[in-house]
């Protein structure tokens, strides 16, 4: 309860700050900007009906000098869950380090980020919070194929004068900073990604990498590809990943693949309709899903997102409706 009150106090402080614009945070000084976000969602399917206060997060960032900057993000998720099917409520008010890193900006070609950070792969992974997404749900691709977060070093920059070809080289050779708070717990993760901006509206790229999971000792080599076309009122993006999995504990090899293609059409600056096809195929578990999503997004302001969607799953008992409300402040 104390945490909710603190969170509300911070939120109200933001709303009362001079010249504050919702979604832009508050700039207290060059060294300190603060902000945060939260989201609620309600899910209804044949097997589950639940309400969640999913994300409650605060972030702080700023410049320490002309070359150094930092970001810290603390998040509690899911903060509160009410499962109407089992009639059980759970609350988890533990705040975790979602991100904590230091940037060293050396040149356009060479920069370093060290600490816990979002893995620089694709598009979905980089806009990982409800309010920035166009659907309430995430495609299975985003959770199953590679660790979403990296506790290590990312060297990145541009390889050409016009900044159209971007690269990342990243490595983690240790435990995650918070092993209870990552989609795939691992103690080794190395990869490289490139993104090429063909024109302001169109870019494509890909990644390769290798990681070793902590609990079941799987050695996974992955290949990922992505492309995006963004020209108002249309937005199309697609991502695909293929994993070659060596189950070292049981001396067995398998592969998995997943991908999605999503299209969005803006009816105007506030309303949009979304369609998505996604699939996930895990040969080792014999698990194959095909999912179609149709959704509607309403943003009274860009930093406030109200969304509704219906998912049609090839396993019909997992078909579901989701509505959500999220705010970035």
């Amino acid at each position: 309860m104390k945490i909710i009150i603190c969170f509300l106090v911070v939120f109200v402080f933001f709303l009362r700050a001079d010249e504050y614009q919702l979604g832009h945070g508050v700039r207290l000084s060059d060294e300190l900007h603060i902000g945060g976000y939260f989201s609620f969602d309600y899910l209804d399917s044949d097997v589950k009906r639940q309400f969640r206060l999913d994300d409650v997060a605060l972030l702080a960032y700023g410049s320490l000098s002309s070359k150094f900057s930092y970001l810290v993000e603390l998040e509690a998720a899911p903060f509160y869950v009410k499962n109407y099917t089992t009639d059980i409520s759970t609350t988890d008010t533990t705040f975790h380090y979602e991100r904590i890193y230091l940037n060293y900006t050396h040149s356009e070609m060479f920069n370093i980020r060290i600490g816990k950070q979002i893995t620089p792969i694709g598009y979905w992974n980089l806009e990982a919070i409800n309010v920035l997404r166009d659907t309430s749900s995430n495609p299975l691709y985003s959770n199953k194929m590679f660790p979403k977060l990296l506790t290590g070093i990312d060297v990145h920059g541009f390889l050409d004068d016009e900044n159209t070809l971007q690269y990342h080289l990243f490595i983690q050779n240790n435990d995650d900073l918070d092993q209870d708070y990552i989609n795939i717990n691992n103690d080794y993760f190395v990869g490289a990604s490139v993104e090429y901006e063909v024109m302001p509206e169109f870019e494509f790229g890909g990644s390769i990498g290798n990681y070793i999971t902590k609990e079941d000792n799987k050695n996974v080599k992955f290949l990922q590809l992505d492309a995006k076309y963004d020209s108002y009122p249309f937005l199309f993006q697609t991502e695909f990943a293929y994993n070659y999995v060596n189950h070292k504990n049981i001396d067995s090899k398998s592969h998995q693949s997943a991908g999605y293609t999503q299209g969005l059409y803006h009816l105007n600056t506030q309303h949009a309709v979304i369609g998505r096809y996604e699939y996930y195929d895990d040969k080792a578990r014999g698990d194959t899903n095909h999912i179609g999503v149709i959704g509607y997004s309403y943003r009274p302001m860009y930093s406030i997102s109200i969304k509704a969607e219906y998912q049609i799953n090839s396993d019909s008992k997992f078909s579901k409706s989701i509505i959500s409300f999220s705010v970035l402040f």
């Binding site: 945070g25 356009e108 860009y302 930093s303």
Partner: protein, 135 residues
């Protein structure tokens, strides 16, 4: 006679299409030329350096007509779309360029801060500033 008319027409056209405003830096800077994409990237904090100079882009207040013209003619983006862009950047820990409240404070800032880049009416550009792009 025809040549005279042609020269007059060319001069007229040049005066019609030359800009009222300019992107400027300190005249002591080593930078003499920037592409439109480099200017866009600097003001969207997608680029930090030109050659080895750490750049400091400076904006006018959001209500400024000069800023509106800059966003329309140079950044070529609507205020709504730019607002979406900065909201996404806020989550990434990147904040927009600093703001100077008037043309004179913008001018003073550019003169005194190495790497500072801003925009002003051409009529107020003096010998301490260098024009990189007219709009």
């Amino acid at each position: 006679m025809n040549i005279r008319i042609l020269i007059v027409l060319i001069l007229l056209e040049l005066s019609l299409f030359s800009g009222e405003y300019a992107v400027v830096i300190n005249s002591n800077s080593e930078i003499s030329k920037l592409s439109l994409k480099q200017i866009k990237d600097l003001f969207k904090i997608k680029r930090h350096f030109i050659e080895s100079v750490k750049m400091v882009p400076v904006n006018m207040p959001a209500t400024s007509m000069l800023r509106n013209e800059f966003e329309r003619k140079v950044l070529r983006i609507t205020r709504d779309k730019l607002n979406r862009y900065w909201i996404k950047q806020h989550y990434q820990g990147i904040s927009p360029p600093i703001i100077q409240s008037s043309g004179s404070s913008m001018k003073l800032f550019i003169k005194n801060v190495n790497g500072a880049i801003g925009y002003l009416p051409i009529s107020s550009v003096d010998s301490d500033l260098r024009i990189l792009y007219e709009f």
